[in-house]
Amino acid sequence: MSFFNYAWDWVTQSANWHGAGSIPQQVLAQLGYAGAALLIAALIAIPAGVAIGHTGRGAVVVINIGNAMRAIPTLALLILLALYITFSFLTWLVPLVVLAIPPILVNTYEGVAGVDPGVRDAAKGTGMTAWQQVTRVEVPIALPLILVGLRTGAIFVVATATLVAYLGLGGVGRFIFDGLDSYNYSPVAGGALVLMVLAVLVLVFFAVLARLVVPAGLRKQRRSE
């Protein structure tokens, strides 16, 4: 049998859709871990990226920190924290936040730093304060790239939140690790399929979000290019 046979058989069993530890429950748990981590990462990385992109100071540092943080293996951080702070929310939150920061930080920085200098000068020339320049001109123009960063971060954390279940917590990883422990491949395949579907849904979600929040003027401009 192939992966899809196993996964489909498991996903279509109605017993897996009801009660404690069902697919909807674990998906919600997974989205909870991922959402919390993405929110906190965004609260750290977006202001930092905007500030550095606007002032141009510390650009080299951002790129290098972004790259260095990518090297940190999430599972190692997760396990290390689990050994020292037995099961507080920080155990799963910190590694996932660390995972989501680099793409958001680097894209936000590049978006803001890449704003056309002419546009920047025009904003200044019309008498905007620094705050107005940032919030009304630079951030809206950088928004498509900021969203790309958030999307990448979201894809990372939604997938990697699976590892949280290795520590005995919930989420889609529960199916995978319980299946592996009991030498039963069906839930492993089912869990992997659920992860893939979640990832594609994240992609769709951000495509819709980009349509909704990117200023109309920017979209028109791009179409005419």
Binding site: F3, V60, L80, L83, T162, L195, L203
Partner: protein
Amino acid sequence: MNWSWIPAHGSEIWAYAKDSALLGITPALLGLVISLPLGIVAARWRWFNAPVLGVVSVLYAIPSIALFFALIPALGLTDTNVIVALTLFSLCVIFPNVVAGLHAVPDSVRQSATAMGYGALRRLAMVELPLAVPVIIGGLRVAVVSSISLTSVSQLIGVYSLSYYLIDGYQRQFPTEIYVALVLIIVLAVACDLVLVGVRRVLTPWMARS
């Protein structure tokens, strides 16, 4: 931290580190080898670009972690499984950069090369690809660092590497092993990253040394 554990397990640590290097670097190189021809074709014939980029962005969304488990029926609990999953990931990071790097070559440069008598192939090899090197290596850096970092979960599907120390250290509540794995995985990733920065410098001697 139990320092004496490290020298006592020196040869074992070295062997696992080599496994991690193999599992992490191979996919990035395979990703490059596949992305180069695909990217060159996509950059030249734009109609090829949109469908490939569509496939690539969906593949990119498919988590490597899910792929590790999804490939079990086809490839088993093997190195090949890990390498195939990470190669797909690398491909998705490198291919867009190959296309972007080639597109970023200014038309004036391309025309100058043609005016100097360069044919399409020679122009590609001598002018366009060298100019695209920084962007391509940028993608390769992300691919190799992420791949090495992702090998840290290989032990979950029974593939031995430094990842073994994470799982063993957790099960035995022995932090030394976890520190060793964490530090060595980061060192390996950073070392590969630095090598690529060096390669870029050698290949693009005209660029400012920054």
